[in-house]
Amino acid sequence: MTYRFRDLLALEPLSADELTFLLDQSKLFQEIQRHPLKKLATLRGKTVALAFFENSTRTRISFGTAASRLGADSMNLQAEASSLKKGESLLDTVHTLSAMKPDCLVMRHAASGAADFVARNLDIPVINAGDGTHEHPSQGLLDALTIRDRRGSIEKLRVTILGDIQHSRVARSNIHLLGKFGCQFMLCGPAMWVPKELEKIGPPGAAIRRVSRIEEGLEGADVIIVLRVQTERMYEPTLSAEEYILMYQLNAERLRRANPEAIILHPGPMNRGVEISPEVADGAQSCVLEQVTNGIAVRMALLFLLMSGSTEEAGNPMTGAESSAQAAAAEKKESTHAAD
């Protein structure tokens, strides 16, 4: 099994086998985090452009660290400092960046579909680091890797997602990935954040239920994904923080309704004491710091995968089948040579 695409724009089009391949590759990069010498020279001389048109600290640092541990350099473009503020179009900014000859572009943008649009206009691999409310594929992968490490498998789990699911690209990537492994979902939050359309976003046959009471939402859960209450994506005050805490905060008492082995994920940054109580955030069931460590392994795997191949053979979604056939042929050639 290998990977068909030139880019990583979303998890939705990937098969369960491809997702397993990406998780297995990430697992091998986890090992490297334990080496005394973490820095490799594999991508030496290559450059990753990090274009974050929306504020981000941890994802940008995580991709930057992943690039540097593989020996690649990175160049940074940040929203506040960028010429977008001066009226340049997204495409012009991206073309300018691309004229500096990076070998891969990692981008985040407030508009859904922005990474896809840019990828269609560039001839280097593009990794979507979050586009509007659409997807955040590397987060989906690192969450799945964390769950697989703790629970042993990502098959047929009961997954509860808490909070503002409507505006969450993390929730969508989680559902697209875990849904392909037979997981069932409980989406729980205030009604305006959990609209009915969400029941249809998963892969065909994925069991997605919406519940408004948190006690019901947590019943028997194996995995609880707590989303950050994202005030910057809300345009009017709909619910006060006090009300949210009262009705939806994940605290120790509510957690008792879940499977005693349940694990808790949070994409960060946490509003400690709002969507999650400090005792739960710091408890043994919380995986938030493992998620951060795994994020680097996943991003190293992605950069390695998309940047290590030869550029003329790297496929795009249209010619994917052809390029994987070439890869298989090359692999065969390699193994039959067996010389050195």
Partner: protein, 190 residues
């Protein structure tokens, strides 16, 4: 797009080793390693993926037969250290390395099937030094076919073979290939 190499036909020219010859060679290599290492206290074998791995395991088994010594065996994947990644495939695929012991101050023997340009061994040494500082690293190969591009030599050699540049030495092992022999093949114009 098919290159000239793919159009060429691969023909078998001769058999370099039979199953029993492979077996005897492994026994001899095991003896040589034990003898030259002067004690097995800090000795460990590192099989280079893929065919170095079963070879290292067989040598370790042969060493147990010599004086009951239990030598740890590790597995090293060199994908991250190759200098020709962009020539291999559209997407490179990493395999697992498994070295469960510390390499600091160890006497390591790298094991591979064929020594050719020396680039694989260069990559393997870079990989090893990311894990620590071994006291000594030596190299054991089943076949040395010449044509070196690096200043690298093997201390333990199963058999040296004169080859031309178009020839390929194929080591086939039952653990991987369901077949056990070493053959010399050549590419010829159709």
């Amino acid at each position: 797009m098919v290159g000239l190499r793919e159009l060429m036909r691969i023909v078998e020219k001769s058999q370099l080793m039979s199953p029993s010859e492979i077996d005897r060679t492994i026994q001899r290599l095991a003896h040589e390693i034990v003898e030259k290492s002067g004690g097995t206290k800090h000795l460990a074998l590192i099989g280079v993926r893929r065919r170095g791995v079963p070879l290292a395991q067989r040598i370790a088994k042969a060493m147990r037969g010599i004086d009951g010594v239990e030598v740890p065996v590790g597995t090293l994947d060199i994908t991250l250290y190759r200098d020709d990644l962009s020539k291999v495939a559209s997407h490179a695929v990493l395999q697992s390395s498994d070295i469960s012991f510390g390499v600091d101050n160890m006497d390591l023997v790298l094991v591979d099937d064929v020594l050719y340009t020396g680039r694989t061994i260069r990559a393997a040494m870079n990989g090893l030094f990311d894990l620590g500082r071994p006291k000594r690293v030596s190299l054991c190969v089943l076949i040395d076919r010449g044509h070196r591009e690096m200043p690298i030599e093997a201390q333990y050699v199963g058999r040296s073979v004169q080859t031309s540049d178009t020839e390929i030495v194929e080591v086939r092992l039952r653990e991987i290939d369901n077949e056990e022999r070493v053959v010399l093949v050549d590419r010829v114009q159709p």
